[in-house]
């Protein structure tokens, strides 16, 4: 089972490598919105879902596709944490 810190680290690495072309200095703070900071757009959100389902093995339902679950490192870490414990 991954710890919260490991989940956050995995998410940050994915965002930096995939959306920021490796530029870690452009990574928003954990509580900042990906959409509002222009880090990802709505198509990027689909990519994020693929990452959650592929790399983290989480099933994402249509109703999970909301900003409260996906739109920041904090939101993603909470969502992933809940799912990993079966919530």
């Amino acid at each position: 089972m991954k710890t919260d810190a490991e989940i956050r680290d995995t998410i940050r690495k994915f965002v930096i490598e995939n959306f920021l072309m490796g530029d870690g200095s452009a990574m928003p703070a954990d509580d900042q919105s990906f959409l509002e900071t222009g880090t990802i757009d709505s198509i990027g959100a689909l990519e994020l879902v693929e990452f959650l389902e592929g790399a983290l093995g989480i099933q994402v339902k249509d109703t999970d596709l909301v900003r409260d679950n996906l739109d920041s490192v904090d939101n993603l870490a909470r969502f992933v944490g809940r799912r990993l414990v079966g919530g």
């Binding site: 959409l35 222009g38 757009d41 709505s42 198509i43 959100a45 689909l46 990519e47 879902v49 693929e50 389902e53 249509d62 109703t63 999970d64 596709l65 909301v66 900003r67 996906l70 739109d71």
Partner: protein
Amino acid sequence: MAFSAAVLALDPQAEVTRIAAAIRTQLQSLRRRGIVLGLSGGIDSSVTAALAVEAVGAKRVFGLFMPEADSDPESLSLGELLATQLGIESVQQDVAPALAALGCYQLRNAAVGAVIPEFAADWKFKVVAPGSDHQGLSFLSVVARSPTGLEVRRRLPFAVYLEIIAATNYKQRVRKMVEYMHADRLNYAVAGTPNRLEYDQGFFVKQGDGAADLKPIAHLYKTQVYQLAQWLDIPAPIRSRAPTTDTYSLPQGQDEFYFGLPYDKLDLCLFGRNHGVAAREVASAAGLTEEQVLRAYADIDAKRASTRYGHLAPLLVEEIADVG
């Protein structure tokens, strides 16, 4: 005065005169002698063609009908009806063989089969967005129907979504290639036909239907395009036809695929967003709830952000002052 659909009312005669004058000036600037455009049997290309005739006369407007394997036959018949009424020269170029040779249908069907294993070539399908009541991030689903009527719906994973969109975009890009062949042959310019909703919200394929030398109705809300259509006496069957993508084998409305709301309601939301109108005022005029209008505002912003790429010209490392 209360906000209402009246904000979109225009003086059709004055607007036609203004657009026709702009087209003539643009052609002078482009050093082209007339206009080529694709005719889809839809309201936007029909109004654009009629405006081109108003601007430069029927002899300098050339229309193209470009059906492919998934096209509704009505698109061709309505396009022909318009060309006959306008008295413009036109030709039919079936683009299905070119698309088949490029692998458009094969690639697309293989991608659909990746999420619906039972999908076969004799099935029909379309790609749909969640309805306007969906409160989350946007995503697309494929809806496929077997010859026996079995319907299957699956959310599209990112990679499959890209495969389907990329293969399907061949359609708009091959058509544009044909338009430019004729434009080069005739020394004409190519007119694009987006209305304001499509232009603003990025509902076009870059280097496909998004490519053009001029876009005469890109500033007009869809409701306003219909106002011009009436004044220009566009045939009634075209004016009464529901906006369609005419891109997938199952019938698909534009609101179902992309916009989420019917055009008349979205026109009011876009106008409201552009002019800082409170959501509750737009809601009252559009017959929506305040919450639906707020979601529409957010969706307008999100689509502008995600389709910015479509509007951009190639990016250079530094400006080259001597060209352009």
